[in-house]
């Protein structure tokens, strides 16, 4: 028999994959073929960063890389770069997880903001070095800002609707003997 914690973990992984598919689907809908002046937020990155800081075991690196790489391919981005940057950002936040668990939300938001902006700058720089034709850095930064604006909403939804919250102390002690 599988223990309930593992079942829950796999359930949430499946939920993450389903949410990513839904996001991709919404992005692909041919509703708006006019170029927009303000690029919308990168909701997948919001979701990843929000979950990684609450329950890092719900998003293992293979799932993260798979999801973002499919987005890279489907949304006509240069494959690999953005995935690598999101992976690095998520790992950074994951390693700070114990710290940010006790932090108020404002600090977490600032941290995610710093990671997002650094990742965006690195993305622009790498594409410029490789002489890939890409959107201007200003537009990319505008997207980083809209992503940050969407972040609290994603956190709220995943915490109170989907139930992705920091593991309580009881859960941690219960988990410890299982390994």
């Amino acid at each position: 028999m599988v223990d309930p914690l593992t079942t829950r973990r796999w359930l949430y992984r499946a939920l993450f994959a389903a949410l990513a598919t839904l996001l991709l689907f919404l992005r692909l809908l041919p509703l708006d073929t006019m170029p927009r002046t303000i690029p919308g937020p990168d909701l997948l990155m919001c979701l990843i960063f929000a979950w990684v800081q609450r329950r890092p075991d719900y998003i293992p690196c293979w799932l993260l890389v798979g999801a973002v790489l499919v987005f890279d391919m489907m949304l006509m981005r240069p494959p690999g770069v953005w995935t690598a940057l999101v992976l690095l950002g998520a790992e950074f936040l994951r390693s700070r997880q114990q710290v940010s668990a006790e932090m108020p939300f404002g600090v977490e938001w600032l941290m995610v903001g710093a990671v997002t902006v650094v990742a965006t700058l690195a993305y622009g720089t790498i594409l410029a070095i490789a002489v890939v034709d890409h959107a201007s850095l200003a537009k990319l930064l505008v997207q980083a800002v809209t992503t940050l604006a969407a972040y609290p909403l994603v956190v709220f939804l995943s915490a109170f609707v989907l139930g992705v919250r920091q593991a309580s102390l009881g859960e941690i002690t219960r988990r410890a003997p299982a390994r």
Partner: protein, 302 residues
């Protein structure tokens, strides 16, 4: 479980670092591969899109239609004004239609008199827009026709009103159309009536600018812009739009195609023109006696 390594064990952290480092290296290698051998990776991408998007199709179509219906419902509020406006437009259009019919007849007569032969091979395949690029920095749509319908990279696409873009990336069942507004789009155009040649350059804005105009003084806002067929990219004479002066004093083109709702697109089959390569040989008088096969060949080429 291999995934909750980040807890407390000391030896797991270096292993995790190695795993992450390897993953990042693999991803950067993929990017480098894409940079070096773009067509191969793009073909992989087209194959992936070809597999994924048609499987979304059952959901894409109803959702798009429902949103369209909601938008249509909102427009009921303004139905009276719209009706009035349409009536006014219809009256104008009737006058124009009469003029167009007369001109068409006249044109047909003149063409007949001149024995002009228009390109008879300009036929089209109509496709339905399935999905857009999904990214705010890329302007493209995905059609439900692909290599099995005979679509070839580089063909022009119109929506019946004006040029929309060109095919770039063909899968078995889908093909991607790079819109004129995409920042990768460069189209040679002619500005009528002055006949200036220019290049229409997409820049992710709804009104793309035109560049490399030789004498901009001759170009006035309101001039018609048509594709020029330079470089054999496009068939000539497809309507692109009208010149407009942007707020930044650059010449821009207001596109004729209805970019707000791209639903059905026509992919124009264009066949590569025959290219005349050799300068032509000397036509010598036929030699007396049995003909030399080499000479016959040479004369045939000329």
């Amino acid at each position: 479980m291999a995934t909750d390594r980040n807890a407390s064990l000391d030896y797991t952290r270096p292993i995790r670092r190695i795993v992450i480092g390897t993953l990042v290296l693999c991803l950067m290698a993929l990017f480098l591969l894409w940079r070096i051998d773009s067509p191969r990776v793009e073909r992989m991408r087209a194959a992936l899109v070809d597999r994924v998007v048609p499987s979304f199709d059952w959901a894409l179509v109803p959702v798009t239609k429902v949103v369209g219906m909601v938008e249509g419902f909102q427009s009921y509020a303004r139905i009276y004004e719209q009706n009035q406006e349409l009536r006014r437009e219809l009256r104008q259009m009737k006058a124009w239609k009469e003029a167009a019919l007369q001109l068409e007849q006249e044109n047909a007569k003149l063409l007949d008199l001149n024995k002009v032969r228009l390109d008879p091979q300009l036929t089209y395949v109509t496709g339905v827009v399935m999905a857009d690029s999904g990214s705010p920095f890329r302007q493209s749509v995905l059609l439900n026709v692909g290599a099995r319908d005979g679509i070839v990279d580089g063909w022009a696409t119109t929506d019946g009103l004006g040029l929309v873009g060109r095919i770039s990336g063909v899968g078995a069942r889908t093909s991607r159309v790079i819109l004129l507004t995409d920042s990768n789009s460069r189209i040679p155009v002619t500005i009528q009536p002055s006949g200036q040649r220019a290049v229409l350059t997409g820049d992710n804005s709804p009104v793309p600018p035109i560049e490399f105009v030789e004498t901009p003084e001759l170009v006035r806002p309101g001039d018609r812009v048509v594709s020029s067929g330079d470089g054999g990219v496009f068939p000539a004479g497809l309507l692109v739009g009208q010149v407009a002066l942007g707020s930044d004093r650059r010449l821009r083109v207001r596109l004729a195609a209805d970019y707000e709702r791209l639903e059905f697109l026509r992919v124009l089959r264009s066949h590569s023109n025959e290219v005349i390569e050799d300068p032509g040989a000397l036509i010598a008088p036929a030699p007396i006696g049995p003909p030399d096969p080499a000479m016959v060949q040479g004369a045939g080429n000329g």
